[in-house]
Amino acid sequence: MTEKLHAFVDKLKSENEGWVTSVADAFGEVTVTVPRESIVDVCRFLRDKHGFDLLADLCGADRGPEEDPRFEVNYHLFSTTHYSRLRLKVLLSEDAANVTTVTQIWKTADWHERETYDLVGITFDGHPDLRRILLPSDFDGHALRKDYPLRGYEPYSLN
């Protein structure tokens, strides 16, 4: 079922060995872990050469403050021609929680990245308008981090 997806991974590997850190195949989905600095090249290669023209989703996740690397960014690529889905994953450590934006490849990444920045606190370098999207601009902290309490800190007020 995932042979088709592994073919894309092989093409990635043959294009540049350094692009693929590891490959996971589980639940019928293929996840490619990509080094932080090459995510833009990988995305552009997959979009231009292999038809992954739709960025279906981009989301950040916090693995917990004790983990290293602490953060991950997941890119869910989809093709409107051959209907394959591929997940790219970038792992980020807490003291360097930033990755280059993919807004120049897919415009839809704009709001996805703003949301990830807002809720998880991952910075996207080169994003044209990186500011909070769901929470107020004076909100303190990033709500989806594991060390952020469920009910927030002190009673929150808009000043």
């Binding site: 589980a26 639940f27 019928g28 989905e29 996840t31 023209d53 739709l54 960025l55 279906a56 989703d57 989301c59 996740a61 916090d62 693995r63 997941n74 869910h76 989809f78 409107t80 209907y83 889905r85 997940r87 897919w106 415009k107 839809t108 704009d110 709001w111 996805h112 949301e115 809720l119 500011r131 909070r132 999207i133 769901l134 929470l135 107020p136 601009s137 709500a143 989806l144 952020y148 469920l150």
Partner: protein, 406 residues
């Protein structure tokens, strides 16, 4: 002449051109045509929109955070509140992601009922879209007719699940309970009357000259831009992309149903209108087929440690009682891993990214709401249009702020 002004986020922004004729208008968040609490920061030159910046977050309730503190089965209730016009679609996306992690086989009858209910829900959701988008443009009459049809569907959903707007009908491993006796006849009754209703809508709106002049050539987005901006669902198909996840990556047995995917090529409000109107007929066809396939059978997967037992079993069997107690009190462990499952909701691709750490609560649940992404493309369609057309464009995108803000 370039002049720096402050935008609503308090950041300086440089605008080109003569500012004397320009003004900034804050449309919403209480504007009735914004379908909830959406605020648009509009830069206007006369009636012409130069720049449109959506401002969202007024309904943010931290649902994604809440999922992490609830057991898997408790999360279903939260999903009802996202896209409140399509709660069964939200249920389906969520439970299917969990089922993928658990590797559950869903029985045939449950699959058919899921399709049946989802397509009824799609009709109900499109009814609200149709009524309100006409209302936004000054046509009040269709609204009363569409809400009548929607009411009938909500009554059906209530009969099956007990809830009108918040059914939580789909559960991990199957359904909450089987359909009540006589349900299929009630659906048939609805279906028999529905073509007449469709005719009424057509008579009222589709051939209406005023409607044509308000929608044709308004809010155009090209095929390439639509994909680039991540549009999905009817909004994407209005731009000429033949993509429907029910056909592209079928789930719940959609590949066995006979239906068409309507596609229009102009990419304007009129195209998106026609796609949705056509979809009503297609959903109607799917419901008819699903009704024919309703055969008696189990509605829950054979997984006693995950699926709640029948009440009757609990009274007779000790192990059922223990399973019930454990599922409710402790939940069930879900294998470690991550999945992304996407379904074709009434508004587009509704994706769920679910990550499990092996325990009874998810580590991360992320919803890819179609409304959220479709709204992000609004500036492309609205800039260069008249302010009255912005209302038409918002209506044609069919957004629900509950899903956007989550």
């Amino acid at each position: 002449m370039a002049t720096a002004v402050e935008n609503f986020a308090g950041q300086p922004e440089v605008l080109d051109g003569a500012l004397e004729s320009q003004m900034t208008l804050s449309m919403g968040p209480q504007h009735p045509s914004t379908h909830g609490v959406l605020r648009l920061d509009l830069r206007l030159d006369g009636e012409l929109v130069i720049k449109a910046i959506p401002d969202i977050g007024y309904l943010h309730t931290g649902m994604e955070k809440l999922f992490e503190y609830k057991k898997y089965q408790q999360g279903i209730v939260i999903t009802d509140r996202m896209d409140y016009l399509n709660p069964l679609g939200n249920n389906l996306a969520y439970v299917m992601a969990a089922e993928k992690l658990l590797g559950l086989e869903i029985p045939e009858r449950a699959q058919v009922i899921r399709v049946l209910m989802c397509e009824l829900q799609r009709i109900a959701s499109h009814m609200v879209w149709f009524g309100t988008s006409c209302l936004d443009m000054g046509a009040m009459t269709p609204f009363w007719f569409t809400f009548k049809e929607r009411e009938k569907i909500l009554n059906l959903i209530e009969a099956a699940s007990g809830g009108r707007m918040t059914p939580s009908y789909f559960r991990i491993g199957g359904l909450m309970m089987d359909l009540p006796a006589g349900f299929d006849n009630r659906v048939r009754q609805f279906l028999d009357d529905f073509p007449d209703a469709l005719n009424t809508f057509d008579t009222l709106i589709t051939g209406n000259t005023i409607w044509h002049s308000r929608t044709k050539g308004v809010g155009i987005i090209s095929k390439e831009d639509a994909i680039d901006w991540g549009l999905t669902g009817p909004s994407l198909r209005g731009s000429g992309v033949d993509l429907d996840l029910r056909k592209a990556t079928p789930y719940s047995g959609y590949e066995t149903y006979d239906f068409e995917v309507p596609v229009e090529t102009d990419g304007d409000v009129w195209s998106r209108f026609k796609v949705r109107m056509h979809e009503l007929t297609e959903s109607y066809k799917i419901v008819r087929q699903a009704l024919e396939r309703l055969k008696p059978g189990p509605i829950k997967a054979d997984a006693p440690k995950i699926v709640l037992p029948d009440r009757d079993d609990m009274r007779k069997h000790m192990d059922s009682l223990i399973h019930h107690f454990l599922i409710v009190a402790e939940g069930f462990n879900v294998p470690e891993g991550e999945v992304y499952h996407a379904i074709e909701a009434s508004k587009g691709e509704l994706g769920v990214y679910m990550k499990s750490n092996g325990g009874p609560k998810p580590e991360r649940v992320h919803f890819r709401g179609p409304s959220f992404i479709n709204l992000s493309a609004l500036p492309v369609m609205a800039e260069g249009e008249m302010i009255a057309d912005v209302v038409a464009i918002i209506g044609s995108l069919d957004i629900v702020l509950g899903e956007i803000d989550r």
